[in-house]
């Protein structure tokens, strides 16, 4: 029953996340807090149970499928999109390009200036 155990752990963490969000009225959704809960749990446990890995990686492999139902919802807003069509399209393209470029450059510059562990390169070569 490892898969059921894995799924129960994921749902349990999400449940704890939702509880924390409501109790502390946090401005973030429950699953994100659930992710933090699971991470802390894994750190304390010291390893990932095999059932949890199987169900978690199964879900992540099909992550894009999970966005489809919400995405179809755009059909409800065709009218609104039509009135502001060009502002929306140009904003999305310009801003996404800028965000990608700035983030990548900043990250690269910052990681280059922090000392790298030379063992890393070896480890990656082997894998």
């Amino acid at each position: 029953m490892p898969l059921i155990l894995g799924m129960s752990i994921l749902l349990g963490c999400q449940f704890l996340g939702e509880l924390l969000v409501h109790a502390l009225s946090l401005p973030v959704p429950g699953p994100v807090v659930g992710m933090v809960v699971l991470l802390v749990g894994l750190m304390l446990n010291g390893r990932v149970p095999s059932g949890l890995r199987a169900s978690g990686e199964g879900l992540l492999r099909y992550l894009t499928l999970l966005f489809v139902p919400a995405g179809v919802g755009i059909m409800v807003h065709f009218g609104l999109i039509k009135t502001d069509f060009w502002p929306i399209v140009i904003t999305l393209v310009v801003s996404t390009t800028l965000t990608l470029a700035v983030t990548a450059k900043v990250m690269e510059w910052l990681t280059r200036s922090t000392p790298q562990d030379p063992r890393d390169a070896l480890r990656e070569d082997r894998s």
Partner: protein, 242 residues
């Protein structure tokens, strides 16, 4: 089978969650196949093709979105546990994350500020309505968080969810081009950038076409961006007088 019997069967099927679920899975498989036939082009992301196919199907069968979502919500629901599951790759690469903690935090803030300022200023320059600007503002954040933020600011939550998806597929298409153009090769930097700019789409894309390290960093960036944007965005939007 006679025509009236077929009619009744259709009435039964279209009201049950079975049809929406099956249609969603079939559309996704067809979209993945189509995308592969087109050489895996990132400009026609399988999710976008699947969404277009499903909207066409719903329009043709005169099914409204609420009826469709009654069935498809079972797939939608899995987004919650999938978000939680992002902790697994994060745990696997914890050493690397720990070493890069400062660049990660600074990079995240720089990315969010760029995303919000460029979005709001371009949208205002283009003459978008106030409502549209406020709906666009949280577009680089994963949809459940973006919907919450849009609502708080005075935008339209469900439209925000759609714009988030468009941003995600756009990010997947533009990301590899931009990385080549500005010569960024480190998979952890690529993954982090994709997760920040294109949330769940970028994360899925990083897992499938860059690798597990990139996927872990994308998941981290997605979660962190969601958390930080909720705090950074409202004061930033006030600067623009909205």
């Amino acid at each position: 089978m006679s025509v009236p019997a077929l009619d009744q069967l259709w009435v039964y099927l279209s009201a049950s969650p079975l049809l929406s679920l099956l249609a969603t899975l079939l559309a996704f498989m067809a979209a993945t196949y189509l995308n592969r036939c087109l050489g895996g082009t990132p400009f026609l992301h399988p999710v976008i093709i699947a969404i277009v196919l499903l909207i066409a199907f719903l329009k043709l069968t005169h099914t409204d979105y609420a009826t469709y979502f009654d069935g498809a919500q079972f797939i939608h629901f899995l987004l919650g546990p999938a978000t939680v599951a992002l902790a697994i790759p994060l745990y696997d690469y914890r050493e690397r994350v720990r070493r890069m903690l400062l660049p990660i935090m600074l990079g995240c803030v720089a990315g969010i500020v760029t995303a919000v300022i460029s979005t709001v200023s371009v949208a205002m320059l283009m003459g978008a309505s106030r409502e549209t600007v406020l709906t666009l503002a949280p577009r680089s954040v994963t949809s459940p968080i973006a919907m919450g933020i849009a609502e708080k600011l005075g935008g339209i939550p469900s439209l925000a969810a759609g714009l988030v998806l468009l941003t995600g597929s756009l990010g997947c298409a533009l990301g590899p081009l931009i990385f080549r153009l500005i010569k960024v090769r480190d998979p952890s930097v690529q993954g982090f950038t994709m997760g920040l700019a294109a949330h769940g789409f970028g994360t899925a894309h990083s897992f499938s076409s860059i690798g597990a390290v990139a996927g872990a960093f994308a998941g981290l960036a997605m979660g962190l961006t969601g958390l930080l944007t909720a705090f950074i965005l409202p004061p930033l939007v006030h600067v623009f007088g909205l």
